[in-house]
Amino acid sequence: MIAAILIILSITAFIGLVLGYASIKLKTDGDPIIDRIDKILPQTQCGQCGYPGCKPYATAIANGEADINQCPPGGDDGVHKLADLLGVEYKPLNAEHGETKPKSIAIIDESTCIGCTLCIQACPVDAIIGAAKQMHTIVEKECTGCELCLPPCPVDCIEMVEIPETTDNWKWKYPIHPIKQQH
């Protein structure tokens, strides 16, 4: 009788130790699901989803506060991927949040720029260089095309320019061949 109790006690103690050790050793920092959602989002940081950036939107999705179809830059592909990841039904993009546009970058008309620094403060990725009363310019490589610099500009000198297709970024197209008619 006593032996049985001792055995059971020692087994539970051992399992307790293992679990306790594992909970310390294998602890994950942050919520991995947020990072996985964030990985799918395009990182434009445009806020069209209604949240102040991609990470906050990812957090909101993870908490069940936001839907998966609020990210226009991510497009239909993005919604599919989110649906796959979260195991939920796919739904088309919510038009309230805007449409998917071709990839563009912002260009400052440098002769009109008055150097007010308002766009610099608006840029979520610090892609605009300039100082007060000095001309500003956009680092094209870093621009995500979020359009957040457009509204604050008092002289409307920023324009969105679509990235043209060149032989460098061109992609092979999906082959379309008619299926042969059977006679």
Partner: protein, 503 residues
């Protein structure tokens, strides 16, 4: 590497009808200098070179039009003398049909050479040689157009393999070059061996080129350091790794390159241009193009870079509205525009036959016969690649089915009884996957920058608060009292003024 007579047959491959004899009946032809040369600024893999001429400028034959800007870049030269009449976007031979920057030269017919100093190789250090090579315009003329100076800048090479397999049907430019320019070809091999400081080179050549083999054997009869290895005619024996296996029995996995085994592979045309550059100071201004297929007089042409291809097609008895494939029937692509000009990558212009055209128009469902598996030299599962590419399941393609091991040789499409353009699906999937990878890299940078910005804003806020607190702490009680009294006095004074005014 020990050389044996044994041939190591690789897995898969096909034996298509070569159609080679139609373009080897007559010697290589040269056409009169065209009135206009349209020379694309970039004709290589790598960075766009920097244009060095301006509109209206007179240029000489062999003059540099654009200089390399980085290591992976190459120079572009003028192929004849004349005047630059335009530097603008123009049609180029590219599968996309998109235009690219070209320099148009109106030739003056004088064909006047620029004076180039003879290159004295013995005086140059290897660094200086590398710099000189960068301006030679020499790139892999087999079609890959990778800048050659990079391949020559290595001291780990032990064996030079000359890729003279030319396994694609219809193409005969290397065959004819070896027959007619045997001396220059061997000079090129010797120069390359010299630069790489290696004692031995092996020419790998398919047994369907008896004339070239005969010529080379005669020319090399006294040579001990260049040997010839005749390999059987199996497509794609001209693929680098397949050829190395055929000749040496050495299997090179996907992750490794021949260089890792001390082997460097050069194409026939590239070696000829290397010889020309070092013996005659001649940069790449022309190349041999096979013009063949559904034409009256198929032939090989030594064409100046920038020659409109219609001039070649017309001379070969074709018409301007014919569909043209650039490259061979297996790996080439149909030109979206046929009013383009000759580039360094252009080894063959193939006028499409009716048979090719009919293959180009329909596809039937896959019946899972796995004929493609039997011929795939990369030992992949082409039917599985097809299913997943068709349904856009890219993750599975790269992880489970090793799409990027595919060399796009086209054996699978060739044997497919359902006529499915398999390679087109793989090319599509590859470029989509590459694009996704690039986008995710861009996204990672944006995420990092955004996180840093948020951190910076937070940090600045904290710093400001700290500064204010510090200032507050520094001012002593006496100072504070003094300040308050000063302020009180100022207020009292102001009140006094108001009272006086009211009086």
């Amino acid at each position: 590497m020990e050389l044996t007579d044994k041939i190591f047959k690789f897995f898969g491959g096909i034996k298509p009808n070569g159609h080679k004899s139609i373009s080897t009946m007559n010697p290589i032809k040269r056409l009169p200098i065209p009135k206009k040369l349209i020379i694309p600024v970039r004709q290589h893999v790598g960075k766009v070179p920097n244009i060095k001429v301006s509109v209206g400028e007179r240029v000489l034959k062999g003059q540099i039009l654009a200089e390399p800007v980085a290591n992976i870049s190459a120079a572009t030269h003028s192929s004849s003398s004349g005047t630059v009449i335009a530097i603008e976007s123009n049609k180029i031979p590219h599968p996309s049909g998109l235009p690219d920057l070209c320099i148009t030269i109106e030739t003056d017919g004088k064909d006047e050479w620029i004076k180039n100093d003879k290159i004295d190789r013995s005086r140059l250090s290897s660094e200086a040689l590398y710099e000189v090579m960068k301006f030679s315009g020499i790139v892999g003329l087999g079609g890959a157009t990778f800048p050659t100076h990079i391949k020559l800048n290595s001291n780990k090479i032990k064996t030079l393999i000359v890729n003279a397999a030319e396994c694609e049907p219809y193409i005969t430019c290397d065959d004819m070059a070896m027959q007619e320019k045997t001396k220059e070809f061997i000079e090129g091999i010797q120069i390359t061996m010299d630069i790489l400081k290696i004692p031995h080179a092996i020419i790998g050549i398919e047994d369907n080129k008896p004339k070239a083999i005969e010529k080379l054997k005669i020319s090399l009869s006294g040579s001990k350091n260049i040997s010839i290895k005749v390999v059987p005619t199996i497509y794609p024996s001209g693929d680098e790794k397949r050829l190395i296996y055929l000749m040496l029995g050495l299997k090179i996995s996907k992750e490794k390159r021949p260089v890792d085994f001390g082997i460097q592979v050069f194409n026939v045309a590239t070696l000829i241009s290397l010889g020309r550059f070092f013996y005659h100071s001649e940069p790449v201004i022309s190349r041999i193009v096979t013009v063949t297929g559904a034409l009256k007089r198929p032939n090989n042409y030594e064409a100046l870079i920038g020659t409109p291809i219609q001039e070649l097609i017309k001379d070969a008895g074709g018409s301007p509205n014919q569909d043209i494939i650039m490259g061979g029937p297996m790996m080439g692509f149909k030109l979206p525009h046929t009013d383009v000009s000759v580039t360094k990558a252009m080894n063959c212009l193939l006028a499409m036959t009716d048979d090719m055209k009919s293959k180009d128009t329909f596809e039937m469902p896959c019946i899972r016969c796995t004929k493609c598996v039997e011929v795939c030299p990369a030992q992949l599962q082409p039917q599985e690649l097809y299913w997943h590419a068709k349904s856009k399941q890219f993750e599975k393609l790269t992880e489970d089915y090793k799409l990027f091991d595919c060399i796009e040789c086209g054996c699978c499409s060739y044997v497919c009884p359902s006529n499915i353009p398999l390679v087109q699906y793989y090319r599509y999937a590859k470029s989509e996957i590459r694009d996704q990878l690039k986008s995710s890299e861009v996204a990672d940078i944006a995420r990092e920058r955004n996180e840093f910005r948020l951190y910076r804003i937070e940090r600045e806020k904290k710093e400001r608060a700290e500064r204010n607190a510090q200032r507050r702490a520094q001012t002593s009680d006496i100072d504070k009292k003094k300040l308050i009294e000063e302020k009180k006095a100022a207020i009292a004074e102001a009140m006094k003024r108001i009272e006086e005014k009211e009086k």
